[in-house]
């Protein structure tokens, strides 16, 4: 149990959403394509992909290469071969049925019309071949045929197989409440164990039932017997009730409790498998490819007292070694990692602050391995005001024979705000460099004070002026 918890440690709500979303997409694809050959083809591709992955893990380079090639070609073949079924799924459904509904393909077919028509044909011994396709398309296995697209009625269906009708030799395709086409040529079954009294019409019906999920109704011309072919099964029909029941089962009648239960179990199993599949994929991503990364993260200090100034810190950045799934590590953005140190307990002077996991915010699914340095030494100072003397900073050389006998600064002192510790060592604010080179007579210079350290702030707004006196040097040394 503990191992199970460990397996799902770092599970985020985004992961749950991710799994559910993809599982639902997979489930919907199954629902839309279930019963068709596409599902079998996709399952085959999945098996090939599994073989390819096993080959990779075993280091079978050629096998992996071959599998990759086969998968690529197979995917292409699936799209080409099953284009009609894919198109029918994507085009004929509305958005609701595409996203949510459970398709029932033949349900709208007026079955009673078919039953009555078939019995009239049988009674009159008119040979007939009626095809009711289900989910798989039949276009790829049938040939010819004349499009009719007529609304299904007993008279129309009987007349299609009337002996003088040019279309009576082929099969009639029924879809929903319409006769789609007539005179369609079906593939003949190659089975050798068919009853000897089955003619070409029966063999054609059997051939189509073997290849697709369509229901084929045959009315024997000689004996007036009705036979149904579906998925390698042959049903002899002796009354209307039996025919109606078989047609209803084929159409997926909601009133058939067994069908509903089976369908519910099938869909539940499909949903569960989809969920398990993507949970497994998530686990393979999150646990299978664990990786390490090191980030250098700036430290954010939280100052409860705004009068406190941070004078120095032994480090401004901290190296964090983190681990997690490669995809999660690659998705980490620097702004998602934060280190916050609260200075609530800190005092003026030097403080040693341990950097712990509680100070570090990481994205979900990412684990912290190492903190370096794990202790920060910071010096705090309280803001104070201090009056400092201003002193001119002369540079250059006075013209020969001249000396500066006096330099009076106005104002003599300025008020400066800064850290108490820093200001404790400072007695003087120096001006920017003032050049002596061009000074030959007494005068006044406007000077700008240079504040060091830069955290100091000048509160005096008065312009600083330096009044200087220059005179000739008296005598030689």
């Amino acid at each position: 149990m503990e191992a199970l918890f460990d397996l799902f440690s770092g599970f985020r709500w985004q992961d749950g959403l991710d799994i559910l979303l993809n599982a639902y997409i997979l489930f919907r694809l199954y629902v839309l394509f279930r019963g068709t050959n596409i599902i079998r083809a996709i399952l085959t591709i999945c098996v090939l992909w599994t073989v390819s992955q096993v080959a990779v893990s075993l280091g079978l380079i050629i096998t992996n290469w071959a599998m990759q090639g086969i998968i690529t070609v197979a995917a292409l073949i699936v799209i080409i071969v099953f284009r009609n079924e894919i198109a029918s799924v994507l085009q004929t459904k509305n958005l609701k049925s595409f996203l949510w509904g459970i398709p029932r393909y033949q349900f709208n077919t007026p079955l009673n019309i078919i039953v009555e028509s078939v019995y009239e044909l049988a009674r009159k011994k008119i040979g007939a071949l009626i095809v009711l396709p289900l989910k798989q398309g039949i276009d790829s296995v049938v040939q010819g045929g004349i499009p009719i697209r007529g609304r299904l009625s007993q008279e129309l269906l009987v007349s299609v197989f009337w002996s003088d009708n040019p279309l009576h030799d082929g099969a009639a395709i029924l879809q929903g409440e319409r006769i789609i086409s007539a005179g369609v040529i079906l593939p003949l079954s190659k089975s050798k164990d068919l009853p000897s009294f089955f003619g070409t019409r029966h063999r054609a019906a059997c051939g189509l039932a073997e290849l697709t999920d369509a229901l084929v109704i045959v009315v024997s011309e000689e004996r007036g017997e009705i036979t149904l072919f579906k998925e390698n099964q042959i049903h002899g029909v002796h009354n209307r009730l039996a025919l109606g029941k078989l047609l209803q089962e084929h159409a997926g009648d909601e009133s058939a409790p067994k069908g509903i239960r089976n369908q519910a179990i099938e869909l539940f199993a499909a949903g569960l498998i989809s969920l398990l599949c993507f949970t497994g994929i998530w686990l393979s991503f999150s646990k299978g490819m664990e990786t390490l990364a090191t980030y250098e993260v700036p430290v954010e200090f939280i100052k409860p007292d705004q009068r406190m100034e941070i004078i120095s810190s032994s480090a401004s950045n901290i190296k964090l070694q983190i681990s997690g799934a490669r995809t999660l590590i690659n998705a980490v953005k620097p702004e998602q990692i934060n280190i916050k140190l609260n200075l609530l307990q800190s005092v003026v002077g030097t403080n040693k602050l341990p950097v712990t996991r509680e100070n570090i915010m990481l994205p979900p699914g990412i684990r912290l391995k190492k903190i370096e340095p794990s202790v920060l030494e910071i010096t705090l100072d309280a803001l104070v005001e201090k009056e400092l003397f201003v002193q001119p900073h002369w540079v250059g050389t006075l013209p020969k024979g001249l000396i500066m006998t006096q330099a009076r600064v106005i104002p003599q002192k300025v008020l400066v705000t800064g850290g108490g510790l820093a200001l404790k060592e400072i007695a003087t604010i120096f001006t920017e460099q003032l050049s002596l080179s061009d000074l030959t007579e007494p005068g006044t210079i406007v000077a700008i004070p240079v504040l060091k350290p830069a955290s100091l702030r000048l509160k005096t707004t008065e312009t600083i002026r330096v009044h200087y006196l220059i005179s000739k040097k008296a005598g030689a040394r």
Binding site: F389, P392, H393, W394, I403, A427, A474, G475
Partner: protein
Amino acid sequence: MKIILTKKSNKYRIPALLVFFMVLGVSFTTSVCPQQANGTMVMTQAVMCESIETFKPLNPAVVFSISQGEVYCFSNFDPVVQKTIVFHKWYKRDQLIFTMQLTLMPPKWSSFSRIQLRDADKGPWRVEIRTAEDTLLQTLRFSIVD
């Protein structure tokens, strides 16, 4: 920086320094007001100068060129009631470079300290003249330039 400390505090060894007892009445630059500390002495003059000749400061100034080679801090006390000491504290910017202890003898006394200049000494300086009780008598601000 080579620092040469010169103090004229022992009149028995260096009688010539008695000349310093003469009052230096001329006030040049930054020294104007007599400073008294504990009633033991009064500082009448304090200047930075290029040199000292005949026990007087020569060319008092606030800017000195390295080419001068040295700079002096001259201080004169009159009267000096009893033997006492003062300090010349030399700061480059706000960093204390050296402290010179000077002994003052009654009835009046003059003394000085000096530094030899090198290229690295360029910048703003100040000399604080303080009593034994650390009372500030005078601050002399000057710059050493090219």
